[in-house]
Each structure stands twice: as structure tokens, then as C-alpha cells.
Assembly symmetry: C3
Homo-oligomer: 362 residues x 3
Amino acid sequence: MSAGMSASVGQLVAATGGRLVPAQGQSETDAVARVLTGVAGLGDARATDLSFLSNPKYLTMLPTTQAGCVLIGAAQPPLAQTVQVVVANPDHTLGQLVQAFGPKPTHPEPGIHPTAVIGARVVIGARCRIGAYAVVGDDCRLGDDTILHPHVVLAGQVILGNGCILFPQVSVRERCTLGNRVIVHNGTAIGTDGFGYASVDGIHHKIPQIGIVVIEDDVEIGGNTVIDRARFGTTRIGVGSKLDNLVQIAHNVEVGPHCIIVGQAGIAGSTRLGHHVIMAGQAGLAGHLTIGNQVTITAQSGVSKNLPDGLVVRGSPAQEFKAEMVQEVARRKMPEALDRLRRLEARLAELEKLSAGRGVSP
Amino acid sequence: MSAGMSASVGQLVAATGGRLVPAQGQSETDAVARVLTGVAGLGDARATDLSFLSNPKYLTMLPTTQAGCVLIGAAQPPLAQTVQVVVANPDHTLGQLVQAFGPKPTHPEPGIHPTAVIGARVVIGARCRIGAYAVVGDDCRLGDDTILHPHVVLAGQVILGNGCILFPQVSVRERCTLGNRVIVHNGTAIGTDGFGYASVDGIHHKIPQIGIVVIEDDVEIGGNTVIDRARFGTTRIGVGSKLDNLVQIAHNVEVGPHCIIVGQAGIAGSTRLGHHVIMAGQAGLAGHLTIGNQVTITAQSGVSKNLPDGLVVRGSPAQEFKAEMVQEVARRKMPEALDRLRRLEARLAELEKLSAGRGVSP
Amino acid sequence: MSAGMSASVGQLVAATGGRLVPAQGQSETDAVARVLTGVAGLGDARATDLSFLSNPKYLTMLPTTQAGCVLIGAAQPPLAQTVQVVVANPDHTLGQLVQAFGPKPTHPEPGIHPTAVIGARVVIGARCRIGAYAVVGDDCRLGDDTILHPHVVLAGQVILGNGCILFPQVSVRERCTLGNRVIVHNGTAIGTDGFGYASVDGIHHKIPQIGIVVIEDDVEIGGNTVIDRARFGTTRIGVGSKLDNLVQIAHNVEVGPHCIIVGQAGIAGSTRLGHHVIMAGQAGLAGHLTIGNQVTITAQSGVSKNLPDGLVVRGSPAQEFKAEMVQEVARRKMPEALDRLRRLEARLAELEKLSAGRGVSP
């Protein structure tokens, strides 16, 4: 199934500045006149669909695709039925085209829904949309063009920048701040108490969590993720970072700029990440760590030590990628190695017996 | 503690077609007249409780159980105080009996609660129940007998089949569809944006996610799970599949029919599962994989390769179950093997010295 | 950034009974007169901030801290600018001081918000606060001083003790009970159906889940966690236990008193934990296990066997901590050990050849 849009190949070329490669035997005029009404993957696309080639894994699908047009990074010889539009970054260009010509997400109507509960001294910017049953606590401030979907709950003194989108059932606790163009998906909680207790004689006494969460500009956060407020001070998500669904961010964590934190990953308290860190799915970071810039942590890895800039790690406990890979390969040879060890022992014992029989006592 | 129900053993025998085995010295008439007012596990059950034996692990509890009646797969010699009712599948039969004679879940009153906000052109089937503060967007369609609990939020153009139950705070984004008899538990989000970015010069640009989610008939989904909409096309959960709590389903994933996805498992983008796949708790699948039919992925496993039909895997990275188990056993012998290796080296060096002392130069 | 409070050092000494150690060259009078307006970590603190030293890892920050006052477990020689207040447990004492002198969490106004929907026969204790759009089902009972934040949903017959705080979008299903002083953070679901199916001919039939959840006194539960109701009987969280965010508790689990379950950990069905069990982040327990008292399960561990009292385990599958650590160290030597094994084989073959050339047939 393809998702709807509407544009001619000519419009796409004009919008992208891409280079046109008509299909076999097709004139440029015919190529640019072709109208596309949908977007689909190479395998599903039909003659009226725009498709794209980004992951080289799918290159083999190109000869047989039925797509009307494909965005591609490197021109291929003319295809049987598919117009190529050659662009530097097909993924990014497709995103821009879909934004321009594709369907838009559904947002609440402009203005404030009559059922929304708005507290005292709330400042709401221009062109905001606030959906049904949203609750905005006292002293909140919303920038221009910010959208609260139905059932969003902001506690008191929450500050949101311009152009934010909070989807249904997002909640933000008191005094937390979100920058500009922050997107938060359904059910995510920001500013919950950090998990901190002082244990005395076996009883865990709650340590009050009086800090806040600061989400910087251009951050996007998936659904049902939780970001705890700091014990005191600030839990921070740096500019341009992207968090997926069901991610756990503990108190006083600092995620640097432009990081990618994939689904179900978790970061324990007070750990700091540099910029452009990538945490793959279900990976975990222990608390009180310093993770350098451009570090990559592969899926399900568990990190319990500081990591320098640029390192790629895997495993639990995590190690440098290649070292761990070599160990994993060696581990798979262990059953056979144990057999070889046993045979060596037997052969050596045999040889020792021979040698003793033959030898002179030293 | 036992959960309430009310039926005589005779009623249970009639309802199940099971074979009666009275307690020691008990007449059939006395056995069928016994009244049961609760359901409980073998260890907790009292004389007025129905219990069951399904997991053989609990067979040893049978001689001492106080249960009034036990559903059992294979008849045992008469028990001291407990009537046996022999049925093919005690688990399934117990479920049916509890459904018939036990307490029912609490649902909203029939009709539409006055506080529910219903959009334009919404079609609501017969006998639907819509709870307090539910929000139903424009152009949604609900089949007959479908129940929305309080605080459910449906965006525009969402389609629900007959007999669905959406528990509190479930949210479904625009254009997604659920089949018949779909059950979704508290806080689950369906149709959130997939996690897709095109990175240009270190900046992550959002790729619009314009596809949908299709949940087929008889699917059940646990609480606080997240299912992302497709980039374009469809994220699909196949007929009869069951997802547990806190599961992550990324964009364009296709879960086949009758799969079991246990709590905190996660599936990365574009991976396809066959039918009757079992993913145990906290397991993870990388993206763009093809997982065959009846594959079993054990708890905490991490799969990064395609898997053929019927395979059972474990470990991270996951391998065929027995091979991985043999490696794990070998791994546990490694500390001792290193000692043996050191001793071998010493003995061999000794022998080489002896041999050199004794030998003639070549 | 520091979080606000307001107290003099003298007030803190009076409140804690701590011993005063003035800064270098400072009189006691000057020390107690110092006014603190914030709380911050050692690295961020300024002259007007209270700080603390709890984790010895941060001892090196003491000589250079700018903090006005530090809570500390063992007195250090007088610091350049920082007053020391020596107390037995700086973590716990700081918590008490912040509770007394720091900012308070934002709660709904006293009373019942006019938009809250309260069912029939609901009993609400003294001084309760019920926020906007909360829904309280029929026959619920709330103790004194209990707070429901906006958008909390209680189904029918839910019982809450005194002094509970349920943050926004917490939902509790029918017949579940929470004790006194229970805190539940945003989006957590209590009492969802357990994940139980009887599979017949490849079709998974739902097993009704008619039990309940009991949360005992002084339990705190993080955000977006899910606790399933029992199949029948009770899923129980013991007195004083603390659960973090995104935790999965399956049906019929029994968590003992004073346990600590860290973020993204999961416990499968019917497993029982003793008292003071610690499960670190992303750890998992298989179903039907018995975990003893004071067991510690390290991060990402996967436990598939019963564990006796006091054991510390790590790894997946989990083993006793030191044994697993020794194996992990050995595993890292495996690539080199394989080389040594190959060299041994070559040397032994050489020696065997020599020996055969030299020897007499036996």
C-alpha cells in the first residue's frame, strides 16, 4: 500500500534540483510529465508511485521495481519503466518532497478547545492549537505555533518554545522547559521524579527530586519514553538529539547535541554523553559515566566504563567493537578447542611416558 | 486469595464435557453437587475453589492441595479431598469456565458518555460504549460492540472493527485501522511516527512518516506498548498475534499471524516475521530482517540475521539454541582450560628441553 | 544550575544534629550565619549553595568546590571556603533538608476539580485533591490526604490508602488496591490483564485474568511502568519496595518488602522475590522462579533459575558474580589462547615426530 501525495516528476525535479534519467526509450518531456500520486518502497511501488533507493541492500530490487520514479544517489543505466531522479541524499530529499507534496499529520483545530483547562497567568503564543481536555498549569508559557494534542498535561511553570508539537497524553511536570520545534510523541512523560533513595536500616527513604528537565531545540522524543527530572540541577537533552520510543533517561543525565537514542535504550543517573553519540536499541549505560563524542554503542550493549571519543563498542559488558567481535568468534570455537585440549593432554601424557621409559633420571 | 465465581462441579462437567474422578470415598452424586465459589492456584485453593494443573512443575502440589476441584489433563488416582475433572487442555478449559462463571471486567456504561468529544462524520456501530473524556476524531468509524474506555484518544480517520476493547489512555493516530475483537491495554500508543532521519552534515532531518498501522483481527496488545506507523506503506500486526506490555514495534515491521511477543521485546524497522513466531521477554530483532515461520527467540536474545522456519535461537548475538548452549557450557570451563593450557605449555617445554638434551642436532 | 531552598547553616545544623566544621579561618558564628539559597552538586555549587558528598567517587571535587556548605559523612580538614556539616548519612539528611526547606512538587488544588467524574458510592477521605478530568469509578475508596493528579483514571472498586499521590495519566483497573503513602508516576498502568493464552491448534485463546494487584504501603512506582493483575489471586508489590520507570511486572508476581527494581527491568509471571532484592536496570527474571532475600541482580542480567538468599549474580544466563567475572576475564583471553593451542599442537607434533624417529617400537 502506498501513502498519498500528488506531484509531477517535473515538479519533483524542480523542487530538488535533481538530475533526470528517463526510462528506456522515454523522452525527457514524457518523463517530466509523469504524475505521481503515492510514495512506496521499491517492492510495493506501482507506476503512479514515487520510490527511493537509500539502503544498498535493496539495489537488487531496482531492475524489477514497478515504481514510476525513483530517487537515487548514483545514476543507473536507464530502467525499463522507472524514471530516475539523481540527488545527493535520497532519504533526505524524499523527506522534503513528502513534506511538500504528501499528507500532513492531523493536528487539533487552531485555537483553544473549549474543554481545555488553562491555569492562571498562562501565556499562549500566536497560532497555537490546544486540543480537547488538555490541561495547562499555572504560569506556563507556550511559544508561537505550538500544538498541544488532546489530553496533554502540563504542570505549573512549564515553558515551551515555538513550533513544538506534543502528541496525545504527553505530560510534563513542573518547571521543565522545552526549546523550539521540539516534538514529543504519545504518552511520554517528562520531569518525573528521579529514582533516588537513602537506605537506612533497610528502609528506603525518598530523596526529593527538586531539579528540572531541559529539552533543547529541535529534539524529537518517541512514545511512552520517560525522562526524569534532576535530583537538583538539570537533566538535559541536547539540541537536535532524537530519542525513540520507550527510552529511559534517569535523573541528571546529560545527552549532548545531535545524539540518536534508539528504542528501549536506557541511561542511568548522572551519565553524560558528548555530541553525535549513537545508542542502538535496548542498549544500556550505567550511571556516573562520561561518554565521549561520536561514540557508537551497538544494540543490547551494556556500558559500565567511560568511553573516549569515537569509540564503537559492543557486548555486555561492552568492549571496543573489533576486540569483542574477535572474542565472540573465539567463543564459538571453544567447544572444539576443549576437545583439542583434551587430545593434547592425552598425547603429551603418552609422550611423557615414552620419554620417562627411555630417559635417565636427571 | 481466590477470585470469585459460582458454579457446581456438575455444571463444570456439563460445560466442559470433562470426565469426573470423585475424591477418595466420595460418590459421584456428592462430587457433582459440590459448589465452587472461587478460582485459585493449587497452593492457595480451599475446599470451595476450582483449581487446575497445567504446568507439570506443579504436579507435586496435587497430593496436598485443598482445592475442591481440579481441572487436569491426565487422571490421577482419586485424591484425598479434591474432585478431578479431566479435560484435554486444562488451561483453555479454565479460561472458558472463568469467562462463563467468573467476574467480568469493568467496562463503561452502554452508550456515549456526555463528556466524550465526538468529531464530524463519525460512524458508531450498535451497542458501542464510549467512556468519559474519550476523544474520537473526525471521520472515525467504530464497528458494533466496540468499547472505548475513559481517556481513549482516536485521531482522525481511525477505523475500528466489531467487538474491540480499548482500555484507558490508549491512543491511535490518524488513518490507522484495527480489525475485529482487537484488545488494547492501558496507555498503548498506535501509529506514532517511525524513527527515521536523514543526517546531513551532522544534523538529523526528520523523514516524514506518512504510512499507517494495520492491526488485524483478534490481536491483543498489552499496556504502554508502542507501534510506529510506517514511513509509507503499512506497519502490520497479523491476525491472532498477541503482544505483551512495553513492546516496541518500529516502522514498517510486519508481524505475521498468531505470533507471541513477550514483554519488553523490541523489533526494529522493516523486519518481517512469519506466523507463530515466539519472541520471549526483552528479546530484540535488528531491522530489515526476515524471520521465518514458527521461529522461537528466547529471552534477551538479540537477532541480527535472517532466520529460517522453525529455528530456536538464544544469545546476543543469537545462534541456534543447542550450538549456543554448548558454547555457553564451554565458556564456563574457560578459566580451568586456561590453567590446563598453562600446565601443558610447561610440561611441553620440559619435554622439549629433555629431548634437546638427549637428541642429536639435526 | 541549582534548585532553590532557603535556610541558614545554623538552621541546617539544628535540623540535622550534625557537627559543624567551619571553613579555614572562619569563626563558628560566621559559619552558622551563612545563608543558603540553593542545592547543587559539588561541581556546580556556588557560595550560596548547599551540597553533599555521598559517592566517594566525588571526593576529589572537595578541595575545589565553591559550595557554601557541604553535608559529609566523615569530617575533612577545614576547607578553603566551604563549611562542613558532618552527619551519618549525607544522602538521607540532604533529602530531609530539601523536604523541609526546598521547593515542593506541584499538586492539584485541594478538593475535587469540577471536571472530575466521580462514580456512584465513591468514598473520598479528608483533605483529598482530585485534579482536572480525573475519573473515579463506582465504589472506589480513597483514604485521607490522597492526591489524584489530572487525567488519573480509576476503574471500579479501586481502594487507595492515606497519603497516596498518583501523578497524571496513572490508571488503575478494577478491584486493585494501593496501601498508604503509595506514589505512582506519570503514565503507569496497574491491573492490566496478565499475558496468558491457551494455544489450541495454533490459535491463542485468551485466559481471563480475574485476579487483582495489591500495592502495599510506602511503595513508589516510576513512570510508564506496567503491573499486570493476577490470572486469579494477587500480583503483589511488598511494603517499602521501589520500582523505577518502564518496569514490567507480569501476572502473579510477588515482589517482597523493600526491594529495588531499576528502570526497564522485567519480571515474568508467578516469580516471587524475597525482601531487599535489588534488580538493576534492564535485568530480567524468567517466570515461576523463587528469588531469595537480599539477592542482587546486576544490570542486563537474565535469571532463569531460583536464587538463594544473599546471592549476587550477573550475566545472561546469570551466574554467581565472581564465577561469571572470572569466566568473562577468561573469555577475553580466548583469541590468544587459541593461538597458544595451535602452537602447542605444532610443537607437540614436532616432538612426536622426533620421538618416533628416535624410539623403538614398544
